[in-house]
Symmetry: C2
Subunit: 420 residues, 2 copies
């Protein structure tokens, strides 16, 4: 009898864990992703703010699964799922499955205002990060050339929309870029006069953290010179800046870190999703009525014990991946399978600038340098591959001691001129 | 009296040396470049073959000249020179000069066959390198998906046109990529079956080197599995491959390393150029009749003692830059200026794969491991910035001991699908 096919779509934190968890199982695993690399998304903002190179936080999927003989990696863009014939579709190619794991993640979402994307790019993949990096660095270059004082101020005003971890981390990183790394590099402008504004619609930053840590993060950001605006709802974004309810902030560089929308898994399956496009799955992460089809990670709407949906963070995705690998292994072996996924929350971390962070470790709340050390070690630890750990540590040590950034690149494409 | 303006166009090896050489001179220096970084071009092929990240071989120009108070850096694309009003034009902006240094380098040239560029990209700037990297890596991915044996072979055949240092170094690097780094990563194809073909129109590789070393380089390449075709003149290139005089080689991945064409300095100045577009300058690198306008580096046609034009390599550009900085310093001080630029050739180096190279050090010719060590140290030594040296050494050590490549990235742009 031939071995069952396990098809995994998406090689993020969830998908990679499922594949690795099946390394010795008697199945044929196919991992499909539209990029050739697994991305360590929690550090993507450091690519966008010129500290790390893209390759430092990316590992080739084939490399990760190289010695896993039962596993095949496919570079393809999945376009749908045929539930009846049990096939995953990627253009004209079809992949038959017995078990299907959909772990396709999320993209940023503009709450129905897709026209904002052009003016306020979001941060999910490497091309996003390098585009934002170029946009930030180029703003300083334009300001240096600008003779009009008001235009110059608008060029040196950076707005982040959304006070979650990415917004907080980006705001701190841009403030330090302008106040430290670029401080002596210009002749006409003073990069230290740049303003960073973080806009949050809710009453506090980092709403997944305890209130005390939200306050600490706000204070740390303000010490770095970041202006934090709470209860501020964005009404519009265009090339001149952001419109709030009663005011308008002019800026050439607006970055979107506010909302995410799950990839179109719900549409592929023709099933119910929540408002963020996440597929509502059962307690074992399977689709209702489809015990061998699972949705994981940012694409899934999973409830915790209190009936709250789990957040779209890496630890949730990793634990879900491990759970599903175990479930498939047991089901194939004819053993009793686990019925309910339980997320074990080891804690939440967010950095604020160069040597400060907040950490919510359940009963223990840390902030400042100690939290930052925790953040540092956790992120190094979970990076895949010795090489990435080495490179990231080297870059961080260099950035820490010199206040400089390692990858300040503006490419000029001779065929098109500088990309603005 | 106000200080004279020295305008330097191009922050490559020549331009940076001029700027640095004027750090204490009583002049106002303006460095104009269309990118924000100085690029260490001799290692660009390692970005194209996935060993190094772009940021490892690039330094922000502002960072290099940060503490040089008399110097300003401008990010702009120069569009012309008005010799009469003594101004450099960049779109609508104008930069008045008393001394002008044009060091704008060269692009690859297709000898009048610009239609080949689409099928056989060349390698001069970072976007070229990342595009070639993606093209090479993607060929293996397509081969893995391909069911037709002939198409698969064409996908796994890589052609380099031009047997100079870049062609030789790229051929070795692609051979090792396929035979080593990717060897275990695929399930349907064997990357070791990939063919690398190096086509050279002349009778030998590396024609700037002694004949003995050309032979050694050819043997080293052949040991790596590269097929070297000499006296082979390319008649046409299209999406199916390369046409020679009496044959046709099918390949999806053709890379152009054959010819260069100087940037349009000659046109800006309205002066005589050689066939490669290089401006013919006098013995002190100035324009005939324009003692304060200089053309340097790959943009200049400079004759050596034997009446031969100097090659377009980094050491020539660096020495020319130093010469011009001294000339300007002396002229401003009212001292006698050097009349004739003399190139001191310290030697030529080219690597062939992972631990072999050829070195022509005048009377001493080296090949193999010793030459490779020389190559290693010279390249690390001339890299600008401690950080770059550290990162490059780390990446090289990792690549050397593991046979792996650090930056195997294929980006999928969700807006456009995978870029082919």
């Amino acid at each position: 009898m031939s071995q069952p096919n396990v098809v995994i779509v998406g090689a993020g934190f969830a998908g990679i864990r499922v594949a690795k968890g099946l390394s010795r199982a008697k199945v044929k695993v196919t991992v499909i992703d539209r990029s050739n690399h697994h991305l360590f998304q929690p550090l993507l903002y450091q690519v966008a703010t010129a500290t790390l190179s893209p390759a430092a936080i990316a590992s080739p999927i084939r490399g990760i699964l190289r010695y896993q003989a039962n596993t095949e990696v496919v570079l393809a863009e999945v376009t749908g799922v045929n539930s009846k014939s049990r096939r995953v579709l990627a253009g004209e190619r079809e992949f038959p499955f017995d078990y299907l794991v959909l772990a396709t993640g999320a993209r940023h979402s503009y709450f129905g205002h897709d026209e904002w994307e052009k003016f306020a790019p979001g941060l999910k993949a490497i091309p996003d990060a390098t585009a934002i990096r170029q946009k930030i660095l180029y703003a300083f270059e334009l300001a240096e050339m600008e003779s009009d004082a008001t235009t110059r101020e608008n060029l040196l005003r950076f707005i982040l929309v959304g006070g979650g971890p990415t917004g907080v981390e980006m705001a701190g990183a841009i403030a330090e870029l302008s106040h430290r790394a670029l401080a002596s590099d210009f002749r006409r402008i003073d990069p230290r006069s740049a303003k960073v504004i973080l806009i949050e619609a809710g009453p506090r930053l980092l709403n997944a953290f305890p209130e005390m840590l939200s306050l600490k993060a706000k204070k740390s950001l303000e010490r770095l010179g970041v202006e934090v605006m709470l209860n501020a709802r964005v009404q519009g974004i265009n090339e001149t800046g952001v419109a709030l309810e009663n005011s308008r902030i002019f800026s050439r560089t607006v970055i979107w870190t506010a909302g995410v929308m799950a990839s179109p898994v719900g549409k592929w399956l023709g099933v119910e999703t929540d408002r963020a496009g996440r597929v509502k799955v059962g307690a074992d992460l399977s689709l209702p009525g489809e015990p061998n089809v699972f949705v994981l990670g940012d694409a899934a709407h999973v409830l915790d014990e209190k009936g709250q949906p789990l957040p779209g963070v890496a630890p949730v995705a990793m634990q879900e991946g491990q759970f599903i690998a175990e479930l498939i292994r047991k089901r194939i072996a004819g053993k009793a399978t686990p019925k309910v996924f339980r997320y074990f929350n080891k804690g939440n971390l967010a950095t604020v600038g160069r040597s400060s962070a907040v950490a919510d470790l359940g009963r223990v709340h840390l902030s400042g340098w100690l939290a930052w050390m925790a953040w540092l070690f956790v992120h190094i630890f979970y990076l895949i591959g010795f090489r990435n750990r080495l490179i990231v540590m080297t870059e961080w040590a260099w950035a820490y001691f010199t206040f400089q950034r390692g990858s300040r690149l503006i490419y000029s494409d001779y065929r098109k001129g500088v990309d603005k």
